[in-house]
Symmetry: C2
DNA sequence: TAAAAATACTCCATAGGTATTTTAT
DNA sequence: ATAAAATACCTATGGAGTATTTTTA
């Protein structure tokens, strides 16, 4: 018998989806549960909010009047959580999301470790799958949010940069590049190069950057194309070639002195990792906090 | 495990009262129930919101950060209800409030009838008691809101005009005033007058208005002082004198031709009835709607 | 030690699920 | 005839009450 945020959320989703059952799916509820909450809202305001018919659900005048309030209440909740994020220290609950292969394997472990230390009672469920599976998961609301290496272009998905990354040159410690006082792009082109496979986001970024520098990607002396970051690192360590790779994936090797990285003069390769969220999703607190944490 | 408006409301009340048990009283809950909701909020945000000690309850830094959001959520609710009020047609629930004697007896019946017709499923509980009892009821949260004849001056009570009223001259149909083309204040002073008792709000308004017109109240030919509106009407009908009385109390007599009312030239006596609400009270939907209804 | 918050427990309302029926095109 | 919303029914969670214990100035 009282107005709740939950009801407004459900109402908003039904209005947006134009269907009780589709909204139920998006909300991870059953259709009768959605019906119940909307009915409770209708009873609260003493007026019907939707006109139901088997093919379509439409807002009534009062539904139209309520819609902006429902929207505002969602935004309010987001703001409240954001505003409180600085004070959160001991969250409980679940943090479930998806990440692309590279991010899941090399970037996240460190951040998840820090986050988990700060919030030991949060259970983390991470699905590492390829980007197209992530997008599908987002669209059918199986995944709350995803971390990907490039913006997702889909009308229902909102992407936002969350982490800065850099692609850097790597070579084994004894390599002759180590002798040079400075390394130019031309120097890089002189040496055997190990590249990621076609379709890799990393490869794409490298090629775009070369183009930007006025260098045809064909000029790379590509000796191998490998489909995994780990394989490339091993190849470089074994002296099979040099490569350009995500900075975040080689902390370990740098620390152990297994690989060396040097700046390529005048050729910094910046990129971002992105969060991807369904336009109409309301992320749970743990998720919002984690994203906020990633953005620092 | 989800943030609710209810929790924010309780949190806000505790913060305002500086005490769980006092807040519980204001919210018509028990202290353990308040504790529970605050704990739920603290768990949700993963941070303590209050520092408890036997003498005082103080906000922590995170509590201070949350406070404006809690306040905003209350205002949001108010706005949402107000914005929806035009569409409410079949409310359910209880409408419980208090009213002063005159308002309860003569003014409210009509409005309650109209309101009840529009919302037949609302149960109305009206306590008609004198103003000082109403104020006490408001202060200890026994009464949600009250309708009174004059603004209440108390730091914890917010008064607001809700109904317009007018004090009008009445005389019996055959009275010689009926012959006059226009009635002046001087004409009124010529005739025997029936007045309310000392301390009556109505009498006070009349005296103030006379003073404003530069007329000493002593000049009224007061033949009787009666302590009830009904008695005055009977007296006027019986030809014992004329009187000035609240317009809203004589609809019935005017319709039956038992009394006549005429304007006193240049001497309109306007006044308002007021709603009185505890500063920190959150009125239930039915109450908000009813007040909105009274304001038209 | 005394006043207030926290805890223990019990009960009940209600949210949500599954299964089924109703409804309107 | 069919897809979708409403209803019926059941279960379980948790919100609120009463009684009691714990806490700290």
């Amino acid at each position: 018998m009282a107005l709740t945020f939950h009801q407004l959320h459900i109402f908003y989703t039904v209005a947006e989806k134009g269907s009780f059952s589709v909204a139920a799916q998006a909300l991870h509820m059953t259709q009768p549960a959605v019906t119940m909450q909307v009915q409770a809202l209708e009873e609260f305001f003493g007026t019907k909010l939707f006109v139901r018919s088997p093919r379509k659900v439409e807002l009534t005048d009062s539904g139209i009047a309520l819609l902006p309030y429902a929207k505002e209440s969602l935004q309010f909740m987001q703001r409240a959580v954001t505003g409180m994020s600085a004070y959160m220290e001991n969250l409980k609950g679940q943090l479930a999301f998806g990440a692309s292969l590279t991010i899941g394997e090399y970037v996240l472990p460190r951040f998840l470790g820090m986050f988990s230390k700060q919030h030991p009672d949060i259970t983390i469920q991470l699905r590492v799958v390829n980007t197209s599976q992530l997008v599908e998961g987002l669209l059918n609301h199986q995944i709350g949010f995803a971390l990907v290496e490039a913006p997702v272009h889909h009308p229902d998905i909102v992407t936002e940069p969350v982490l800065h990354d850099e692609l850097v040159l790597i070579y084994p410690p004894g390599h002759e590049l180590a002798q040079l006082p400075r390394i130019t792009l031309e120097d890089v082109l002189q040496h055997p190069f190990i590249l990621r496979e076609k379709g890799s986001g990393t490869r794409q970024v490298i090629e775009e950057r070369l183009q930007l520098a006025g260098v045809d990607a064909e000029r790379l002396r590509v000796t191998m194309e490998l489909a995994s970051t780990g394989a490339i690192k091993s190849g470089v360590q074994a002296g099979l070639g040099i490569s350009i790779i995500s900075r975040s994936t080689i902390d370990h090797e740098l620390a152990l002195g297994l690989l060396t990285t040097r700046e390529i003069a005048g050729c910094k390769i910046d990129r971002h990792f992105y969060s991807a969220v369904h336009r109409s999703a309301l992320l749970p607190l743990a998720a919002q906090t984690f994203l906020h944490f990633l953005r620092q």
